[in-house]
């Protein structure tokens, strides 16, 4: 068969990329083998001084090559995206020519292949900190990380072995991608001339949070590998306890970064997604929260071990579990199993098998090493004292584990369903039904029986389901954190304990009663959480002031705990006391079980009362910048009535966005007015965009608007961009039936519609004798009338009069008040600060 010469392709860069992937894979393999040989092979154990250094050196060199190769992959992929080489599937699928430079990196985390790459980069970066230190832990720790790198780079290989495809190659050409096999035109030599642009990056990701949130979260995920590698390294090396001390700062670092990543996700959801809050128990959010909980547990267990030399087994368990849970959440989000349950899960690329294998490998490895060495781990001989810090630290980690398990189970329902788990639940349900029946008979009660199921779907009301468990757990955690620091290691004198704790305890009771009364808390469980979080804050504050005497260097733990307390408090108040103020006094009610009428309709120009405010929909504008064209901005003005003058006075305005998103359907982005003590959150729930999409369908014209423009200026209308590209001084007078002596000039206007179709029109201004008149242009397809009546003599700018077709424009929006949500963000910052201080203390 004759090979076709494809016009305009740049296959060489893809080949370079392939080469780098292969190199990354083999060098990682070589590196982990060499590192393990340096401390594990027989001759090395016999003559460590001769061989150890050589193998270790080789491992390090191989890791250097691996680093180079990973940098090469990133560089090549970025080069392809930057140059818009759309013959590459990844580039076509995730970018476009109009993508601004600042969002080009976001292409890396839109696609799965790119996100594995991001993860790989962070592992490499973290490893170099350990290699640079170059102590006895370099070989085992970097060795273990190198095994992870082998797996991760295999995710990019894209080779077929025995009919099984390993990994997905980001450098595959579009015409070679099996997904595109039935697109015939890709097989013509000139196919590239037909591909004008890529599909583009999902507009939802073109947001500054999406530039910083994924790399932070992935750094957090990547950082869990370091303590894991220390633990496994310790088991392999026979240093069963010595690994804990060097692993502690890494663990705090990971807790801080992963926590920041999760909170940034919450902030992004609050700011850019419109589900009305910062946490919706979304499976993907849960999947990153769960490893953080065990990570926090691991950090505290390490402290117990360091101070008291006990609970090493639990320390191993939590450290290993954290890493495994990161793998599991990768599996949840990448296997497509969450498909219908989450907003931001990736689609299946056929890599679930590989991910399961990868998980199984580390489960088996860790279980084997732990069981094999179980007798060599130091046993706790002393009985814990109830009045000791280690006891309460340990109980705290158990509570964290319960919290983690509950979220994990509920999030995994789609997995259980796939596995046919409902047979088990039906069986359990039958047993429970027996007892429930018994209870019902004995006490004449009517507790509901378990239903038999043929499949499992996520809870009907996820918020209620999670809160039922997580609220009491948070209360317990808050109380444990509050009292924990007042216990000393080993044993605490109870008199002293009560003396110290009575002040914050008393103050907390008073303060929480006051807050509950002020904010009208009416539920016991809310009150308990309110007390627990205030107690956490005050007790730790008191500890910092009275016992640590405000020595900031030692206050890391206290500050982080105060932050945690504030997060709890902020979450509690802003959720429990959030109010939808856009209540519509509507006529139809579907019953008390159903959400209230929470949406309010605003016709343009009307002012309606809402809560203490009067709101008005002023106008709709469209972004002018090419990357902003997709956004429709709705200006909503908030007024208050002045009691004296009876006049409405404008307080502020909000600009919620309705985004025309071709990639995943239109989305609305909220806009929030922030006050110190509350946020007013506004988002569009329904937008009438008929006139934007199909402007010629509406009748009648609106009031004309006059704009002064100079050449190059742009005006953004709802459905059109108007650009003044020039002034035409040689107008074809005959065509316009003008006199020879008339002076005429045309304003050359480029019109760009929402589909990026361009048209040029030229309204004309005519000077006949002393009379000035204009010849307008009507563009029916866009519902526009354009006029050019004059040029301003003083500044040379052209007057352009634009008349848009009238629409009975309206918008439907929802507004929610979140009180004291700033406590949440302040708490987050304090928690990060506390972690930083703790890290600083441990590495000094």
């Amino acid at each position: 068969m004759k090979t076709i010469e494809y016009i305009g392709e740049h296959p060489i860069f893809g080949q370079i990329g392939h080469l780098f992937i292969a190199l990354a894979f083999t060098s990682a393999l070589l590196s982990c083998i060499s590192y393990f040989m340096s401390f594990m092979s027989k001759e090395n154990r016999a003559h460590p001084e001769i061989f150890k250094n050589k193998w270790q050196k080789l491992g390090r060199i191989a890791f250097g090559i691996h680093t180079f190769a990973v940098a090469g992959i990133v560089g090549t992929l970025f080069f392809l995206i930057y140059n818009h080489y759309f013959e590459y599937y990844y580039v076509w699928y995730h970018s476009s020519t109009t993508l601004p430079f600042k969002y080009m990196f976001a292409c890396f985390w839109e696609g799965q292949e790119g996100s594995f790459l991001l993860w790989t980069i962070w592992h490499v970066v973290l490893s170099w900190f350990i290699i640079r230190k170059g102590d006895e832990w370099e070989a085992p720790v970097v060795g273990v990380i190198a095994t992870v790198q082998v797996f991760l780079s295999s995710m990019l290989l894209g080779v077929v072995v025995f009919n099984y495809k390993i990994g997905n190659d980001p450098f595959i050409l579009m015409r070679l991608n099996p997904e595109m096999a039935n697109v015939p035109f890709l097989h013509f030599a000139d196919y590239l001339s037909k591909i004008k642009d890529g599909r583009g990056l999902n507009p939802l990701l073109q947001n500054y949070w999406m530039v910083i949130h994924p790399p932070t979260l992935f750094l957090g995920f990547a950082s869990t590998v370091v303590p894991f590698a220390f633990a496994i390294g310790g088991l392999l090396k026979g240093k069963y306890t010595e690994w804990v001390k060097p692993a502690i700062p890494w663990t705090f670092f990971g807790v801080m970064i992963l926590g920041t990543g999760v909170l940034m996700g919450a902030a992004w959801a609050y700011e850019a997604l419109s589900f009305g809050g910062f946490w919706a128990w979304d499976p993907v959010g849960n999947a990153s929260l769960v490893p953080w909980l065990t990570f926090v547990g691991a950090a505290h267990l390490m402290l117990i071990f360091k101070n008291r030399g006990q609970s090493i087994f639990s320390t191993y368990l939590f450290t290993i579990l954290t890493f495994l849970l990161v793998l599991y959440s990768t599996f949840l989000t990448r296997s497509g199993i969450l498909g219908s349950t989450s907003v931001h899960a990736f689609t299946d690329l056929g890599m679930s098998g590989q991910l399961v294998f990868y998980m199984a490998f580390y489960i088996v490895l860790s279980a084997y090493l732990l069981i094999k060495n179980r007798n060599k781990l130091p046993k706790t001989v002393v009985e814990e004292e109830l009045a000791s810090r280690e006891f309460w630290l340990f109980i705290g980690t158990l509570v964290l584990l319960i919290s983690c398990l509950q979220i994990l189970f509920s999030t995994s329902i789609p997995v259980f369903d796939k596995l046919g788990f409902y047979h088990v639940t039906n069986f359990l349900g039958t047993i429970c039904n027996f007892f429930i029946g018994l209870i019902n008979d004995l006490f004449h009660s009517s507790i509901a029986l378990f239903q038999k199921r043929h499949n499992l779907s996520p809870p009907d009301d996820p918020k209620a389901h999670y809160n039922m468990w997580q609220l009491p757990i948070s209360v317990l955690l808050g109380l444990i954190i509050a009292i924990g620091q007042f216990f000393k290691y080993k044993n605490t004198d109870s008199k002293e304990f009560w003396k110290k704790i009575s002040l914050p305890l008393g103050l907390s009771v008073l303060l929480s009663a006051l807050v509950a009364w002020q904010l009208e808390f009416d539920r016991v469980n809310y009150f308990l959480l309110l007390f627990a979080s205030i107690f956490t804050i005050l007790a730790n504050l008191d500890f910092m002031v009275r016992i640590l005497k405000l020595k900031i260097g030692h206050s890391g733990a206290s500050i982080a705990h105060i932050g945690f307390g504030m997060i709890l408090l902020g979450v509690l108040i802003s959720n429990a006391k959030s109010t939808v103020i856009s209540q519509n006094k509507s006529n139809v009610n579907l019953g008390k079980d159903f959400p209230n009428n929470e949406n309010v309709m605003l016709v343009k120009g009307d002012t309606v009362p809402m809560n203490k405010y009067y709101i008005s929909y002023k106008e709709r504008t469209r972004g002018t910048d090419i990357s902003d064209r997709k956004n429709l901005y709705y200006t909503i003005e908030y007024f208050k009535r002045n009691d004296d003058t009876k006049q409405l006075e404008k307080q502020f305005e909000l600009k919620p966005i309705y985004q025309l998103n071709e990639k995943m359907g239109n989305v609305s982005e909220p806009s929030t007015k922030r006050f110190l003590t509350k946020d007013i959150y506004t988002h569009i729930t329904y937008a009438d965009i008929e006139d934007v999409v199909n402007p010629s369908s509406v009748e009648g014209y609106k009031k004309p608007i006059t704009k002064q423009m100079k050449i190059g200026d742009t005006i953004g209308l709802a459905n059109t961009l108007v650009v003044l590209t020039g002034i035409n001084k040689s107008v074809n007078k005959e065509a316009l039936k003008l006199d020879k002596n008339d002076v005429a000039a045309g304003a050359v206007l480029k019109l760009i519609d929402i589909n990026q179709h361009e048209a040029t029109v030229e309204p004309v201004m005519v000077l006949r004798g002393n009379n000035l008149f204009s010849i307008p242009v009507v563009v029916d397809s866009l519902g526009l009338k354009l006029e050019f009546p004059k040029i301003n003599p003083d500044n040379g700018m052209a007057d352009i009069v634009i008349t848009e077709k009238k629409t009975n424009e309206f918008v439907i929006m929802k507004a929610i008040i979140f009180p004291y949500i700033n406590l949440l963000w302040l708490g987050s910052l304090l928690m990060i600060l506390g972690c930083l201080l703790a890290i600083r203390k441990r590495i000094r």
């Binding site: 699928y93 814990e384 009301d461 009428n597």
Partner: protein, 134 residues
């Protein structure tokens, strides 16, 4: 017995409780006829929009009432009422998942989940669009 053992036992008990509660509060994908049999319970019902019947949303009349007809997996059709705004791109949806309960002949939805073809990026679908443009 050590004190931590007591807590370990409590932990196990709570964990079992968590599993059971997860099971009991997890829903089940079902159809209209099962939902009609148990009007007190919430169900997840998946199906398709009947595009030949009226999809009603008139915000000027009531911005919080949206109704349409859905055909479930078994081919049973019911009118669905939803107390909220019409979801974006509703007509484009491939599959609909409703959570709610039956009330007489109508199904009252608490939430509506849409599966849109574009969201589940099918490259062939995209190529179709793409070809008409190119």
């Amino acid at each position: 017995m050590k004190k931590t053992h007591i807590f370990a036992i409590i932990l196990i008990a709570v964990a079992i409780g968590a599993i059971l509660s997860t099971v009991s509060s997890s829903g089940t994908y079902s159809d209209f006829s099962s939902a009609a049999k148990n009007p007190d319970l919430d169900f997840h019902v998946n199906g398709k929009l009947n595009k030949s019947k009226e999809v009603h949303y008139d915000p000027k009349e009531n911005a919080n009432l949206f109704s349409f007809y859905m055909v479930d997996k078994k081919g049973v059709e019911r009118k669905v009422l939803y107390n909220g705004t019409k979801p974006q791109d509703f007509e484009k949806s491939d599959e609909i998942v409703l959570v709610g309960k039956c009330n007489g002949e109508e199904f009252i939805a608490k939430s509506i989940l849409l599966k849109c073809p574009s969201k589940y990026s099918n490259p062939n679908e995209d190529m179709k669009e793409f070809k008409t443009k190119g």
